[in-house]
């Protein structure tokens, strides 16, 4: 299954919604969508929120794409916030102890506040 990506402009910046499998084959699509967001939000983007509630599977290439997104955010002073992690994504994050490096929120509303 390929990944479906939707990008939404929100007050704080952008909301990226991912649906399906974020893996070796599809992570380049996510990377392209993020690059487009960084291009558009060059000035004044406070945060990039990523909704992971519909992600069925994520491998290390998928995580690397999120890492790259976070590193790009750090360079521009924006925040990368992950929200609504689906159970498979939550498992991957727990196993690899990724919770300490990403900002993770239970809901999009939570992730949108305090920016």
């Amino acid at each position: 299954m390929k990944v479906e990506i939707t990008t939404e402009k929100i007050n704080a910046g952008f909301l990226l919604k991912l649906k399906g499998d974020v893996d070796m084959n599809s992570s380049s699509d996510v990377r392209t969508a993020m690059a487009e967001i960084f291009k558009q939000g060059r000035s004044g983007m406070k945060a990039l929120l990523i909704d992971l509630s519909q992600v069925r599977y994520m491998d290390s290439s998928g995580i690397a794409t999120l890492v790259e997104g976070m590193q790009n955010c750090l360079k521009t002073g924006a925040r990368l916030r992950l929200c609504e992690l689906s159970p498979p994504v939550r498992d991957v994050f727990e196993l690899a102890r990724l919770a300490s490096v990403f900002e993770i929120f239970p809901t999009i509303t939570d992730a949108s506040s305090g920016l």
Binding site: M24, R31, S60, S61, I63, A64, T65, L66, V67, E68, G69, M70, Q71, L95, A96, R97, L98, S100, V101
Partner: protein, 427 residues
């Protein structure tokens, strides 16, 4: 309409048939798609007595029609300056709907896009536009425009042009398949290279230390993941044992792993303990991060005299320890994040004591995520149960695990490397 005698009609049919045979020969004679399409359109223009002909291919990324061939007085200008969106103009409409269109006067069609004529000063009148199709997939459209004798194209012309376009579509499909075959061959070569890089960095032998047994196994995945392991002889009484897994696969993962492995080898000697080695390594990797690549890694320092283990864990699966009494537990469960994500992260370490008969099992996720032909996972529970019931001797335990995983997966190709390192004190 053109009025032709029966004889002239017959002659025309023969000529058209010969053209089709000629074009058929053309498309199978070469794999140079640009040249083939140029020739097919030149022949179409000539045999259909057209003033201009063109062929556009769909750019899958932008969903636009891009001129591949444009023959006629304004052809070059068209090629350089114009593109059409799917659904835009006559060509865009035919590309979207997949149905051929014969127009006696293009200007009467509501979809006709006059911008090209306005920009070039050309006046389009009669035209035929045909989709290039392979099965249901549309790859582009071809057009012939304005008969040189001033008459309009008719149903016979349409029929002939459809046949010619069918051949152009075959040529496009052949070229696409050839390209994909070449890409596959290149990928296979890349994978072989990645495998060579990867394997050249893995230890060729296991350490030989009195009263200890070390055993290791590595199976590369079909696409070559980024697993690695290493033994570092620190001094007479200390040895470093490393296992890790780089994100992603193929050449990038193999090269990242090679660099990481050599950096860790240096830091293992210069830093005071495993936690500070990983701390430095993490910052080095994060500062030169490319494409978000990272690695999970477990670094164990073993003092051979006392059996003391100092373990620092960067997001890797906690190792198992099988004690001499048969019990099985996890070590270094409270680890830090993977390496290379954020500079300046702190890493902790924990210690444990290895007694006679104890065996430590380090492994990568390729083992517990090994999959059989029913897409079922080998799984952690099965793994732990096997460690529990197997002989604790490191060599025997390693073999038992590999055998059991292979039995489970059968001949299914695996998507991740499988790496296993077992070591312990001889009873």
């Amino acid at each position: 309409m053109k009025k032709l005698s029966n004889k002239a009609r017959l002659e025309q049919k023969v000529k058209r048939l010969s053209t089709l045979i000629e074009v058929n020969g053309l498309i199978s004679s070469s794999l140079n798609l640009d040249q083939i399409l140029e020739n097919v359109m030149a022949i179409s223009k000539q045999v259909m007595n057209a003033d201009a002909s063109s062929l556009m291919l769909i750019d899958e990324k932008t969903k636009e029609l891009v001129y591949q061939v444009a023959l006629g007085k304004v052809g070059e200008k068209l090629k350089q300056e114009f593109r059409l969106k799917l659904g835009q103009g006559i060509a865009g409409t035919v590309a979207q709907e997949g149905k051929p269109l014969l127009l006696e006067d293009a200007y009467t069609h509501p979809k006709f896009h006059r911008a090209h004529d306005d920009a070039t000063g050309y006046r389009t009148k009669s035209m035929i536009t045909v989709p290039l199709k392979m099965g249901e997939r549309i790859t582009g459209v071809a057009q012939v425009i304005n008969r040189l004798d001033g008459s309009v194209f008719d149903a016979d012309d349409l029929e002939l042009f459809i046949a010619l376009c069918g051949m152009a579509a075959i040529a496009i499909e052949n070229a696409r398949m050839h390209k994909s075959l070449m890409e596959k061959q290149r990928l296979v070569k890349d994978m072989e290279f990645a495998r060579t890089v990867q394997e050249s960095f893995l230890p060729q032998t296991t350490p030989e230390i009195a009263s200890y047994t070390f055993s290791a196994h590595y199976t590369p995945a079909q696409e070559v993941g980024g697993d690695f392991y290493d033994f570092i002889h620190l001094d007479r009484g200390r040895i470093g044992i490393v296992i890790g897994d780089v994100s992603g696969k193929g050449v990038p993962a193999a090269l990242y792993m090679a660099k990481l492995g050599s950096d860790l080898r240096t830091l293992a000697f210069t830093e005071k303990d495993p936690a500070s080695a990983l701390q430095k390594l993490n910052t080095m990797l994060a500062e030169r991060s490319r494409r978000g690549m990272f690695a999970t890694l477990l670094y164990v320092e073993l003092e051979t005299q006392s059996g003391k283990l100092t373990i620092s864990n960067a997001g890797h699966l906690p190792p198992l320890i099988k004690k001499a009494d048969g019990s099985v537990g996890k070590l270094a469960t409270a680890g830090g994040s993977p390496l290379g994500i954020l500079a300046g992260m702190q890493f902790g370490q924990e210690t444990a004591l290895l007694d006679r008969g104890d065996t430590v099992v380090l492994y990568t996720d390729g083992i517990i995520e090994a999959m059989n032909d029913k897409e079922a996972l080998y799984g952690y529970e099965r793994f732990e149960a096997l460690v529990r019931k197997s002989d604790p001797d490191p060599e025997l335990l390693k073999s038992a695990i590999i055998e059991d995983v292979n039995l489970f997966t059968g001949l299914s190709p695996q998507h991740d490397d499988m790496t296993l390192v077992c070591f312990g004190v001889v009873k």
